[in-house]
């Protein structure tokens, strides 16, 4: 497993996908990429599903607001521990009340209002930066245990 993960670290272990407007297929593509990369890293089925669900929530949010953006996957290593990093950047409307969104139960879209807070729960590291009128950047990491 660890050997497998090490083989992934390097130039080939980075992948980015464009997000354009309302194209929902990107959700499927990104979910597949997250699952595949985390499986190759040696993540178990539950962690693979957590990672795929988290990226689904975040990209769904971008697509729902018809924003343009990009998702980047990177296999990382810190103190010998491999992990998967996912960064989603969009040029959408931005989030006015980040704290409230991170607490959950708040939505102007179509979900349960728990998408973003849910993604945070499913990942090990999570950061969200947003500026109204400029866009949002979500940074997430999951470590192999």
């Amino acid at each position: 497993m660890a050997e497998n993960a090490n083989a992934l670290v390097g130039d080939t272990a980075s992948l980015s996908i464009n997000i354009q407007g309302r194209d929902e297929m990107v959700i499927v593509t990104a979910r597949g990429a997250a699952r595949e990369l985390s499986r190759e890293l040696g993540f178990g089925i539950v962690d693979q599903t957590r990672v795929a669900t988290a990226i689904s929530e975040i990209i769904r949010n971008v697509v729902q607001y018809a924003s343009e953006g990009e998702v980047q996957f990177r296999v990382i290593e810190e103190n010998g521990q491999p992990g998967l990093e996912m960064v989603v950047v969009d040029q959408g409307p931005g989030i006015a009340d980040v704290e409230r969104v991170l607490r959950g139960g708040y939505s102007t879209g179509n979900g349960f209002g728990r998408g973003i807070s849910g993604a945070r729960t499913l990942m090990d590291d999570f950061e969200l930066q947003s500026e109204v009128g400029r866009g949002t950047r979500v940074w997430m990491r999951k470590w192999l245990r």
Binding site: E24, M25, I27, V28, R31, R35, I45, V46, Q48, T49, R50, A52, T53, S56, E57, R60, G104, N110, G111, F112, R114, G115, G118, T121, L122
Partner: protein, 117 residues
Amino acid sequence: MNIPVLQIERFLIVSVQGELKDNDVTALQQNLLERLRRTEAAGVLIDLTAVEVVDSYMGRLLRDTAAMIRLMGVPTVVVGLRPAVAVTLVELGLDLPGIHTDLNLERGLTWLRTQMR
């Protein structure tokens, strides 16, 4: 993607394969409700065996679909949730309240039979 609606005994069966897009879901909901009215089916079973990820959006769609079917006076059972999907849903805080779930197709059908009047 056209999602087929099958019929076994007096029940409608929907087996969801892979990703559902907005349009698919709207079409499926209308198709299901229309079929319900036409066939006077006694229950609906939604099979998620092939679904690898259920996010909060899809959770809401499931809940809405079950609510529409209930408004027509018909029970719904959702079956075949994968273990990893069940774990993730609970962690997301989405335990699908108000939706009856069962382990598999056979048990779902058994439950639907008990609901027949």
